[in-house]
Amino acid sequence: MLLNKDKWPEFVGRLAGKKLLAPQSGGDAVRFAPVSDGEVPMLDFKNTRVPPKQALFPQTETMYRFQLGTEEIELPQLDEETIWLGVRPCDARAMAIVEKLFRWDIDDPYYLKRRELTTLVGLACNEPGLNCFCPSVGGGPASTEGLDLLMIDLDDRYLLEAITPKGEALLDVTGDLLDEVKADAVKEKEKVVSAAEKKIKRTVDTEGVSAGLPGLWEDPLWRRVSAACLGCGTCTYLCPTCHCFDIQDETEGFEARRCRMWDSCMFEEYTVHTSGHNPRPTRRERTRNRINHKYSYYVDKFAVTACVGCGRCVNLCPVNIDIIEILRQVKEAL
């Protein structure tokens, strides 16, 4: 369906009643924030610093509450339906990829419940960022995986493609604002998408990486690429596919909760045994694990790379540890 941009405010208005989040620029860093009633978010940004993985995997999630001294456990209410507007295809793909893990073997109730309650409305990238390399890892600027609805900006109108019933439901409630898609729009879409793909410059050939990584276990490249690492959480916290978490009990007087929060395999403490022994004692092992996890272990387990090429870790690593560059070096070493 097509939505004329002048009807955009009305379209957004129709979504009222559910919690709506969209990218907004706070200072110079764009981030997802709740849209208040009557506000019309403009989707004129590249991508948010912090990925929308928080939609399904909040940075801190209360798993359950209890009173100290009792064993009665109370679960949090998870029932608010939310719509995330303007999710980039890579980030949506990431959510689909992570979902595989949260569904594997034992279901993770929190992630899946949130997925159920959340409608992800995507926006294809007409202007990919400098470090976007989604095509190298199986995605693309208009990829639909993980989305409920995809919007493609065709200058004066949006092309809306429902991917799931949830997406269709959205089109239903806004049907009167939409026009049928005609051939020109389809053509235009193709043009826009292929133009976008062409704008992606920093690509890397990942062929054979997954199979080859185990053989590079002791390769000197790991020391080289990790020497400058600060061991901060930037690359992992901001990565849409990173999903590790820590579980902690927090108390306040007699009130307490058990909650989980993002954790990062780049932190030294992450793997330290209580005895003080650390199986990944230096940044070399930690960096190696991060790359292996994304490009090898995850592929082995779920047949998909746990990197969607969003480029965040490249953009934001304070010391220019550049996954694209690492992959190039891996390729070279193969």
Binding site: T60, T62, E252, G253, E255, R257
Partner: protein, 143 residues
């Protein structure tokens, strides 16, 4: 802010001067508001400035740290050290937007029961004016 709002104040007192001064206020039956709860430490120098932050976060509306007058410290210089640290903390908190009326420091000697009363009154009054400090509360968050 409700009219009958009673601020909750946590005070850190050094064992040798201020705690003794507060005891003296008691022995002299000096009356003062009941809003101040005292935590006894050996020296005002023991007070980690982050206690102040922590107390505010954990539900205090005001914090008081009190020690011996300069030169009277039982451990010679603990109060000088407290003064520097807490002075810095005060500047920082003000800069971050914590109402300066929420944090006070005082010198109260073992013979100053009356001064203790005044300090308590001032601290309570200031915290009352500043109002409940809900913004920073730990238990309020995402619970």
């Amino acid at each position: 802010m409700s009219a009958d709002y009673e601020p909750n104040i946590v005070a850190f007192l050094c064992n040798w001067c201020s705690y003794a001064g507060a005891d003296l206020a008691g022995t002299s039956r000096v009356h003062y508001p009941a809003n101040v709860q005292v935590i006894r430490v050996m020296c005002s120098g023991r007070v980690n400035p982050l206690y102040v932050m922590n107390a505010l976060q954990q539900g205090a509306d005001g914090v008081l740290v009190s020690g011996c007058h300069p030169g009277d410290c039982h451990y010679m210089e603990g109060n000088f050290r407290a003064r520097r640290r807490l002075g810095m903390l005060k500047s920082l908190m003000e800069f971050v937007g914590v109402d300066p009326r929420r944090f006070h420091m005082s010198w109260v000697s073992a013979s100053e029961g009356h001064k203790w009363k005044e300090v308590v009154e001032k601290t309570v009054e200031d915290a009352r004016e500043a109002g409940p400090f809900e913004g920073f509360r730990r238990q309020q968050i995402d619970w």
